[in-house]
């Protein structure tokens, strides 16, 4: 009996119906947090003494970098749970997490290079973190592509899960080796601003932005997973009823991001 909740997690229908209720308050909360955090950071936080206004991109850049790394582990854990307990829903979460993670790494790379141009004088520098983000993007793309090219859905899920799990072993190794490589090939001119010395007036909006990004990640994961649920369960009766029934609030929720 104690495990009932766990097995219910494997049911796509249960997830869909549960999240329909959550989204009603969770989506507005996320949007509000994002707006408050970004407006606070971008408009009201004080100007940095050395970098001027260009430092403000940290409020977009840094939480995206955090989430792109966390997202990889969420994806891999979902894949592992799917492989071990043979549940459908975790695989859908995994497939939903891959494009979100790829988008976040692209956002991190893009904002990073936009910040790098006024600060470092170049859009791209072979810096340890740059390379790590690029490799992370490749890892995500590998999973997205592998999921797309496989002829059978079920096999695609398992193959992606294996690749993601092997990737988790490799991610820390890649991170360390790139870091090590960088310390050997250290270019002279670049210095990061110390993260520990950040002033509270900039730290609080940054923390708020991180929380908002976590919520945003969860929200998009839920929406993408709902889409995946609808696509894969399209032939089941409950989806048919859901789509066929008039005046159903869930319908718009599912199709908004389809």
């Amino acid at each position: 009996m104690a495990w009932q909740w766990f097995h219910r997690l494997g049911s796509p229908r249960w997830f869909y119906e549960k999240t329909s209720r959550w989204l009603v308050w969770f989506a507005p909360l996320t949007i509000a947090l994002l707006l408050i955090g970004l407006i606070w950071g971008l408009a009201f936080a004080p100007i940095d003494a050395k970098q001027g206004n260009s430092y403000r991109i940290i409020f977009i850049h840094m939480p995206a970098a955090v989430l792109s790394l966390v997202g990889y582990y969420i994806m891999a854990i979902a894949g592992g749970v799917g492989l071990i307990w043979r549940m459908k829903l975790p695989f859908m979460v995994m497939q939903a997490a891959a494009p979100i993670g790829a988008a976040l790494t692209i956002l991190t790379l893009a904002t990073g290079s936009l910040w790098g141009y006024p600060t470092w004088g170049t859009f791209w520098e072979w810096d340890a973190r740059n390379i790590f983000m690029l490799v992370l993007l490749f890892l995500y793309l590998g999973i997205v592509v592998l999921g797309k090219v496989y002829p059978v859905r079920d096999a695609a899920d398992k193959a992606c899960a294996i690749l993601a799990l092997v990737g988790t072993v490799n991610v820390p190794i890649i991170y360390k080796s790139v870091d090590w490589w960088y310390s050997l090939h250290q270019p002279a001119s670049i210095k990061f601003t110390g993260a520990s010395s950040i002033h509270p007036s900039m730290l609080y909006p940054l923390l708020l932005c991180i929380v908002a990004y976590y919520c945003f990640y969860t929200l998009s994961l839920i929406l993408y997973t709902r889409r995946e649920v609808l696509v894969r369960e399209a032939r089941t009766q409950w989806v048919g009823e859901l789509v066929g029934a008039p005046n159903n609030g869930d319908k718009s929720g599912g199709e908004r991001h389809a």
Binding site: V145, Y150, K158, A159, G167, N170, V178
Partner: protein, 230 residues
């Protein structure tokens, strides 16, 4: 218990000798990575600059990158033949565990691709004017590194064996996982050239090989079960 172990061993050695014999019958395929390695290294001075100083400074990295690409070249074929003629299904039905069979196949692949590349590398290093003292670490690091890369690449080959044109997907999957091996391996050679002790890098590559030997065979076996049964 002992009986089972004996069965496993005889099964593995049968696969091992079968693969070696197959490789021997397709001797011309064996030369492919080596010729690719030679041609790529020949093109390099023509495309960049033939001065010994520049070549010597980029030689460690270039030799490693070209060797890496050369191993990727034939990776696609590792399980392809067995998949096409149905041997892969037989391996899965066989009494010995699939990961041991996989290990035997990867070992043969490394003996016929990675090891020749590592042995040929010093010759090409002479052409690239690699400074003194870089030759032994180059061979040693490539010997260990190609073994790690064979194990990683075999996972990619196993995942893409059911795809008709899996080559590009294989490259995309495998490349990021190769990155630490490349960094450590190329660094081993360049630190040896600079006159430093390179045993640390070799130890790291050996540790990587130990980790890959533990992690990869079950993962490859799982991937083969998934991709060939659909």
């Amino acid at each position: 218990m002992d009986d089972q172990r004996g069965d496993n061993w005889s099964g593995v050695s049968a696969v091992f000798s079968r693969d070696l014999r197959l490789m021997w019958r397709h001797r011309s395929d064996l030369a492919n990575p080596l010729i690719f390695f030679l041609i790529a290294i020949t093109l390099l001075p023509l495309g960049v600059d033939p001065s010994r100083q520049l070549l010597g400074s980029i030689a460690p990295g270039m030799l490693w990158i070209m060797a890496l690409l050369a191993t990727l070249l034939s990776m696609d074929l590792l399980f392809r033949g067995d998949y096409d003629d149905g041997s892969l299904a037989q391996f899965q039905l066989a009494p010995q565990p699939l990961y041991l069979t996989v290990l035997a196949k990867v070992a043969v692949y490394w003996l016929t691709t990675g090891l020749p590349l590592a042995l040929m590398a010093p010759l090409l290093a002479v052409m690239l004017a690699l400074p003194e003292g870089g030759y032994i670490p180059l061979t040693l690091s490539l010997t260990l590194g190609t073994a790690v890369m064979s194990l990683i690449g075999a996972l990619g080959a196993a995942l893409t064996v059911c795809l008709r044109s899996g080559g590009l997907v294989l490259t995309l999957i495998v490349m990021p996982l190769y990155l630490p091996v490349l960094i450590i391996g190329a660094n081993c050679v360049s630190s040896a050239v600079a006159g430093f002790d390179y045993s640390r890098e070799l130890a790291l590559l050996g540790a990587g090989l130990a980790l890959a030997l533990i992690v990869m065979p079950p993962a490859i076996a799982g991937a083969l079960r998934i991709s060939s049964n659909q």
